[in-house]
């Protein structure tokens, strides 16, 4: 059972990681990256790494997308 969950998580991570790279628009990429971050956290959790999963959630699904969005906002303001 746990093997199936891990396999699903691995495929989720591989697919969403590819999607992050192929999403060339940074704004949309930020959301895909959040989804990828959640996938990583899920993968870590399925591999019994709760500490790492929690770190991954706070970094990958909260801090990183927030920074990307703020950076995008700054860039847009510069262009005005």
């Amino acid at each position: 059972m746990s093997e199936v969950i891990i396999a699903v998580a691995l495929i989720w991570v591989a697919a969403s990681g590819t999607a992050v790279v192929l999403t060339r628009d940074p704004l949309r990429q930020a959301f895909v990256a959040g989804f990828f971050g959640l996938g990583l956290a899920f993968l870590y959790l399925s591999m019994q790494a709760g500490d790492v999963a929690l770190s991954q959630i706070v970094v990958g699904a909260i801090a990183l997308p927030l920074i990307v969005l703020l950076a995008m906002a700054k860039v847009r303001k510069d262009r005005e």
Binding site: G17, A49, Q56
Partner: protein, 115 residues
């Protein structure tokens, strides 16, 4: 299962680098670096995984819990997540500043150190 598990590591690393090489936008490029970086965490945790193993947290366990997974690799991955976050944030600050000062985010248009 091994092929899938280890294949994902190589895939994430290479696809992240592919993104870096082909990127036309520094913010996109920085996120691609973080994709490649996550390959290392996945590798460490896979090395430390044990089939049917439980988390290395010894609280509320059943009577015969079986083996636990490798806590050392988890500690290393923990450190690496923090390192990755620090580097990503720093790169993002550089990207913001480059856009302000060079007026572009396209890495291929940045030739300041050349011309």
């Amino acid at each position: 299962m091994s092929v899938l598990a280890y294949g994902v590591v190589a895939w994430l690393f290479l696809v992240g680098i592919y993104g870096v090489v082909t990127s036309r936008n520094l913010i996109h490029l920085v996120v691609c670096v973080s994709v490649a970086q996550s390959a290392t965490d996945v590798l460490l945790l896979e090395i430390g995984y044990r089939n049917g193993g439980h988390a290395p947290v010894f609280v509320d366990l059943p009577a015969h819990p079986g083996p636990a997974v490798d806590a050392v690799m988890q500690a290393l991955a923990l450190t690496d997540v923090v390192v990755g976050a620090a580097v990503t944030a720093l790169l993002m600050a550089l990207a913001v500043q480059v856009h302000k000062r060079a007026g572009t985010l396209d890495p291929d248009e940045l030739r300041a150190t050349r011309e």
